[in-house]
């Protein structure tokens, strides 16, 4: 299948190889949560809700009383994928992604400022069209900022791949299931540091560097967008408060 048209250079959905899907972020979608966000990357739609910092529910889990405990859960709705999936018991992918998101966010949250408390991050995928991991991290960042939890930096994430000898930014489901390499990068924009790097399939080293740089560019673009959304939201709340 031709993922990149050799004549025009367009991809399956009409994008250019280094073009990201349309982003949409909204803050404050779940009324009961301390912070919540809805993030869309093209057709991938994800809701994140953050509860905390609050009292630790299960004292047995609290390993270090000087830091906050960060927990994360990732779930996919049954109607989220094209063909309705029947979830097998103990969905490994969900637990793996939960762990990945937790580690990524923990690297950025200033946990030492909230000792003896816990922060719960819940991410639910409403629609999956490739790049769910990245969308979840972006949504979690928005939700944490909305909840007023101190963070070192804005964490954003984007995926990139390599098909038909072209590095492609922000793969959708069709491109993702093509069997080519899929690199997901989590990036701290201000500090210019990579906090998450995952890849499947294989790539030669120099191509890998190109693909990773492309993903980092995507992360920076997403960070600008997220910053604007948060700034707008803060201004609105402050003005309304009076």
């Amino acid at each position: 299948m031709e993922y990149v048209n050799p004549l025009t250079g367009f991809r399956v959905d009409g994008r250019r190889p280094n073009e990201m899907r349309q982003l949409k972020g909204e803050v404050g979608v779940v009324a009961r949560a301390d912070g919540s966000a809805l993030f869309e990357m093209g057709n991938t739609r994800v809701i994140a809700a953050v509860y905390g910092p609050r009292e630790v529910q299960n004292k047995g889990q609290q390993v270090n009383s000087k830091d906050a405990l960060v927990r994360c859960e990732y779930r996919m709705a049954d109607f989220s994928t094209g063909d309705r999936r029947r979830k097998p018991k103990g969905d490994r992918r969900s637990t793996e992604i939960s762990l990945v998101i937790r580690q990524t966010m923990e690297a950025s949250i200033l946990t030492h400022l909230m000792p003896r408390s816990q922060i719960d991050i819940f991410v639910q995928v409403l629609q999956a069209d490739g790049g769910t991991r990245a969308a979840c991290i972006n949504a979690a960042t928005l939700a944490l900022a909305d909840a007023g939890i101190p963070m070192r930096d804005i964490v954003t994430s984007c995926s990139a791949g390599y098909l038909c000898s072209t590095p492609l930014l922000d793969l959708n489901y069709i491109e993702d299931s093509a069997g080519g390499p899929d690199v997901t990068v989590g990036f701290l924009t201000k500090m210019d540091k990579v906090t998450l790097l995952q890849m499947d399939a294989k790539l030669p080293m120099d191509t890998f560097e190109t693909v990773m740089d492309l993903a980092i560019e995507g992360c920076k673009a997403i960070a600008n967008y997220i910053r604007e959304v948060l700034l707008e939201n803060t201004r609105r709340l402050e003005c309304q408060r009076g």
Binding site: R116, D146, N233, G242
Partner: protein, 315 residues
């Protein structure tokens, strides 16, 4: 808007947008988001307060909020974060657990607050040492899920919060409803207990965002408390009278609408909103509807514009 998910028709939406837009033009805010650099003159004596951190010599925000400068202190004031307690704050909390010699309360803080048995007046009012019998009878004073009004006494060395409820005006709150609003909407004032005489209603604005609206309870009568207990079990005839209940519901709905709009809650504003609903003949449950929502927004915008005009006129 967060709490009231309303479906506005086209005209209402337009009016609401116009009102909110006007608010934005009134006072622009110096907002920052996470990882924004805060512009400071390079004087060495800038104190970096809450919500800031030092990265590579620059002052960087760690929270989303508004930058405040007080003399040499620079800090970021968040909006929708959890409650930040200060000593002397009056708060309303709910008992979560009864632990040895203390009650644990949930107060919208990162940890549960602790109310020691020794910080609470005994039912008989005598000042004495708390014995083991007192400890066993803690449940007669406060049970689980009770709503309590107390004051912040201080922080312990491990960061947990201690409360005290020694005065007569603190204690258990019954016969009313508890509302939860974001903590930043309640400003610290001199008075948090408000007895609204015209309605015979008690309104307590807890600094942690828990607001109590209930029947007026005469302060400082322990005997009354015991009577109330018996009455609760006898029930039926002892329900709140309908008139008072109507006022309570109106005030509660006014608080809900104002918190959904994100306006700072003050007693005057709440009373004004409740009275506006009476004068416009809006049913109590329609106060949570789209029309009253938009009207309240417009009214508040007008009020603020008038205030600003008066201030600039006075200068």
């Amino acid at each position: 808007m967060r709490d009231l998910q309303l479906s506005l028709n086209q005209t209402q939406r337009v009016r609401l947008e116009a009102a909110l837009h006007e608010l934005q033009t009134v006072a622009p805010a110096a907002a920052v988001t996470v990882a924004d650099t805060i512009p400071v003159n390079d004087e060495d004596n800038i104190l970096k307060g809450h919500g800031t951190s030092d990265q590579d010599g620059e002052v960087v925000a760690t929270l989303c909020g508004v930058v405040e400068r007080v003399n040499k202190l620079v800090y970021v004031r968040t909006l929708r974060a959890r409650y930040k307690p200060e000593v002397g704050d009056i708060i309303v909390g709910r008992v979560i657990e009864i632990a040895p010699k203390r009650w644990r309360l949930e107060i919208n803080f990162s940890q549960d607050a602790v109310l020691m048995l020794s910080s609470m007046n005994l039912p008989d009012g005598i000042q004495r040492r708390r014995t083991a019998v007192d400890e066993l009878n803690m449940r007669t004073i406060f049970e689980e899920n009770d709503v309590i009004c107390a004051e912040v006494r201080g922080f312990q060395h491990d960061g947990s919060l201690h409360l005290q409820a020694r005065s007569q005006k603190y204690g258990k709150l019954e016969r009313g409803q508890l509302l939860v609003v974001p903590a930043y909407l309640v400003k610290r004032r001199k008075q948090h207990f408000h007895h609204l005489e015209q309605y015979d209603v008690d309104l307590i604005l807890g600094c942690n965002g828990f607001i109590w609206v209930g029947e007026h309870v005469v302060v400082g009568e322990n005997a009354n408390m015991m009577e109330n207990k018996l009455n609760l079990s006898a029930e039926v005839e002892n329900f709140t009278p309908l008139e008072t209940r109507k006022h309570i519901c109106r005030l509660a709905n006014a608080v809900r609408v104002l918190s959904a709009l994100g306006f700072t809650l003050t007693v005057e504003l709440i009373i004004e909103t409740a009275e506006a609903s009476v004068s416009s003949n809006i049913e109590i449950n329609n106060m949570l509807g789209a029309e009253f929502y938009v009207q309240t927004a417009e009214r508040e915008v007008k009020r603020r514009a008038d205030l600003l005009r008066k201030k600039s006129g006075a200068r």
